[in-house]
């Protein structure tokens, strides 16, 4: 609970750590969720656009997961 109150957006110091952070380079990541440890798609790895939402013309069903 205290972790939630003090959580802020992290930063990446690219000069101190030139390599892309490990956290952003793996497609799936293990997280301690409300139901115990679960493997989820890493939101830092990529964002999958939602088809036909918000006025965008992305067609459904044609998107291949890309890095």
């Amino acid at each position: 609970m205290t972790a939630a109150l003090s959580l802020r957006m992290p930063y990446w110091d690219a000069f101190a750590s030139p390599d892309l952070p490990v956290a952003a380079s793996v497609p799936s990541i293990t997280v301690n969720g409300p139901n115990g440890r679960e493997v989820i798609d890493n939101p830092l790895y990529n964002y999958t656009f939602h088809a036909n939402e918000g006025g965008n013309p992305f067609p459904p069903g044609h998107w291949v997961r890309k890095t």
Binding site: S6, L7, R8, Y11, A16, N32, Y47, E53, N56
Partner: protein, 93 residues
């Protein structure tokens, strides 16, 4: 005044300024010391990665954020798309 855009899934008071309705960016109020106004620091992502519950919360919140309907002005899609140009037709001022 510092403006901080955060992903906390608890009391997030952050809003956005768009053309159809003005939403003020006031930052997250959770975790701010009432008396001193002291705010939690932003941490290095490589340190947050190994920090346990905060990291789990961050990832789960970010994933939830990305799942918000793209028509919602507070969705990941629209927040990440905030830029002076080009603007989307609906947000054209």
């Amino acid at each position: 005044m510092r403006h901080i855009l955060g992903l906390s899934c608890l009391a997030a008071f952050s809003l956005l300024l768009i053309c159809t309705e003005a939403i003020a960016i006031i930052g997250i109020l959770a975790g701010v010391n009432i008396t001193t106004g002291e705010r939690p620091l932003r941490r290095n992502i490589n340190q947050l990665y190994v920090s346990g519950p905060a990291w789990d919360l961050f990832l789960l919140a970010l994933r939830k954020f990305q799942q918000v309907n793209q028509a919602d002005p507070l969705s990941y899609y629209q927040v990440a798309g905030k830029r002076p140009r080009p603007v989307f037709a609906k947000l054209d001022c």
